[in-house]
């Protein structure tokens, strides 16, 4: 649906790599161009009209984000360069200061690199341990298994709400409730979920939630760090500099601003933030529930068709998001992707930055199709038609 809003869809391509990044609607492109064309000034300087307008647009977006994920306060929304920076800020700025040697960090083997490596570094530096929640037969996280992974030393659970290869939706609310009963923090990586289903951080009970604008129809280079205010107050800024300080005279006399500015040093990605605001307006106009339902139906349509092809092996049959991971029997995933590229079909091949997942699934590389609301049945039909004929793939993959 809404295909006419996307200039990229006027080109002759079938774009099925939305887990990597999404296409941008004209309204987002226009909002960014409008800033650069009509009121290109810095933020936080309201001495003249256009700068005042920048401030308004920038802070309005913060409010839009707050509403979009139902955070309690505007100050709980920090703009970052993306999901990766948000997660690194949490690990370094918050947990570095409180983690102790025997503490345990609980993640899973299906996390994206950005929710693994910051914890690895913490472990290396402070001797705390990174442990894995056992996954069930479908590679899912269940509350039961979370309970099994928890010990008296567990300090934090860091999980994607939806994983980028398996596409399973984790029971975050139940996990948060249980974790909090045991004084454990919960960090939620929302990179693959915020764009695809309604998010309510208060209902979920997450202590931190991170996501990127570019995976939700917004521009690249901008993301969000949500944290409960009491925790953000304790988060030490990684970057120090302009905009975030109140005053400074000497080493001992540095006074920082309040949240959220304290955590946004330097000139922010103003155009990016304004673009994110436009993306949220756009998604709201369609409706997150409608997006979710449409995606689920389209996934079912795709999976049902793939199941009729004997040489296709679906890795995440049970999942309920727009992500379908599969392999063509006997053909390396990258060769399949190259073959589809010849017909302007864009899918992703590889390990999708989840490099420890192979221990769990037993498959190193897969083809991944990740759908979004602007994909349609005709595109799925075209993909399935191309995958149906193994001889043809074999013949044309070089």
């Amino acid at each position: 649906m809404n295909r006419e809003d996307f200039p990229m869809l006027q080109k002759d391509i079938i774009y099925l790599d939305n887990g990597a990044t999404t296409l941008k609607p004209q309204s987002v492109i226009d909002a960014i161009t409008d800033y650069y064309t009509n009121y290109s000034a810095n933020a936080h300087r309201g001495d003249y009209d256009i700068s005042f307008h920048v401030d308004e647009m920038y802070e309005n977006t913060r409010e839009k984000v707050r509403k979009f994920i139902n955070a309690k306060e505007k100050e709980e929304i920090i703009f970052t360069s993306g999901d990766t920076e948000s997660l690194n800020m949490i690990a370094r700025g918050f947990f570095e200061n409180i983690i102790e040697k025997d503490d345990e960090i609980l993640i899973t083997q299906s996390e994206h690199a950005s929710n693994v490596l910051p914890w690895f570094r913490l472990s290396k530096k402070y001797g705390c341990k990174v442990k894995y929640i056992p996954l069930d037969d479908s590679h899912y996280v269940t509350l039961e298994n979370v309970k099994k992974g928890i010990t008296p030393n567990t300090r934090v659970i860091a999980l994607a709400q939806i994983t980028n290869v398996i596409g399973d939706i984790r029971p975050i609310k139940e996990i948060c409730t249980y974790a909090h009963e045991h004084n454990i923090f919960v960090v939620v990586d929302g990179a693959q979920s915020v764009a695809h289903k309604k998010t309510d951080v208060q209902d979920l009970g997450a202590d931190f939630l991170t996501f990127s604008a570019h995976k939700m129809c917004g521009p690249t280079g901008v993301g969000v760090l949500y944290g409960r205010k009491e925790f953000l107050e304790q988060l030490e800024p990684i970057n120090l500099g302009g905009g975030m300080n109140e005053s400074f005279d000497s080493v001992d006399e540095v006074y920082l601003k309040e949240l959220p500015t304290r955590l946004e040093a330097g000139t922010p990605n103003i155009a990016g933030v304004i673009g994110l605001g436009a993306a949220i307006d756009y998604l709201n106009k369609i409706g997150m529930d409608k997006i979710r339902e449409y995606e689920q139906n389209l996934r079912k349509y795709l999976v049902d068709k793939l199941l009729t092809i004997p040489h296709i092996d679906i890795i995440n049959l049970e999942s309920d998001s727009g992500i379908v991971a599969f392999n063509v029997e006997g053909i390396f995933s990258q060769d399949v992707a190259y073959y589809l590229n010849k017909y302007n079909v864009c899918i992703r091949a590889g390990n999708h930055c989840a490099k420890i997942l192979k221990k769990e699934v037993g498959v190193t590389n897969t083809c991944r199709v990740s759908l979004y609301f602007y994909n349609n049945e005709e595109e799925v039909d075209a993909l399935v038609e191309l995958l149906k004929d193994k001889e043809k793939i074999w013949k044309e993959m070089l």
Partner: protein, 143 residues
């Protein structure tokens, strides 16, 4: 090279790669070679005696182009002196990079003489050469 022959050669080496998964012993030197931008990942093992390449084997996961390129490279390099091997490698790299090269010494690897037309696959063809270069450079230092 004729397109059909080219294709047949590549597919033949992809389906029956020379010395893939062959058992090796401690007389082989190992190197891992992979492409940052994709998922090809090969281990290459080389055995050198009297400045001559006695044997090469490989293992790993890679696409058809990388696998076939590695298999052909192995077939063509076994028996060559290190000096000859460098010459061969250089010529292959020149061919892929669209620079003048000597057709006469590349043998089956000429099957990749038009790979330059597919920019995203050039690195696949070059991957095994990146690995073998690393081993030979090491050996040169040792000698």
């Amino acid at each position: 090279m004729d397109e059909n022959i080219r294709r047949e050669l590549i597919m033949e080496h992809y389906q029956n790669p020379r010395n893939k998964g062959k058992e090796i012993d401690e007389t082989y030197q190992k190197v891992n070679t992979n492409n940052a931008s994709c998922i090809d990942n090969l281990d290459i093992y080389v055995k050198v005696e009297d400045k001559k390449i006695k044997d090469i084997a490989f293992d790993g996961e890679a696409c058809a182009i990388s696998t076939a390129s590695c298999s052909m490279m192995i077939t063509n390099l076994i028996g060559k002196t290190i000096q000859e091997a460098y010459e061969y490698i250089e010529n292959f790299e020149r061919m892929v990079e669209e620079k003048p090269y000597d057709e006469n010494i590349l043998e089956s690897a000429l099957a990749f003489n038009e790979i330059y037309k597919q920019n995203n696959r050039k690195n696949c063809a070059l991957l095994p050469y990146k690995g073998i270069r690393q081993i030979l450079d090491q050996l040169k230092e040792d000698i």
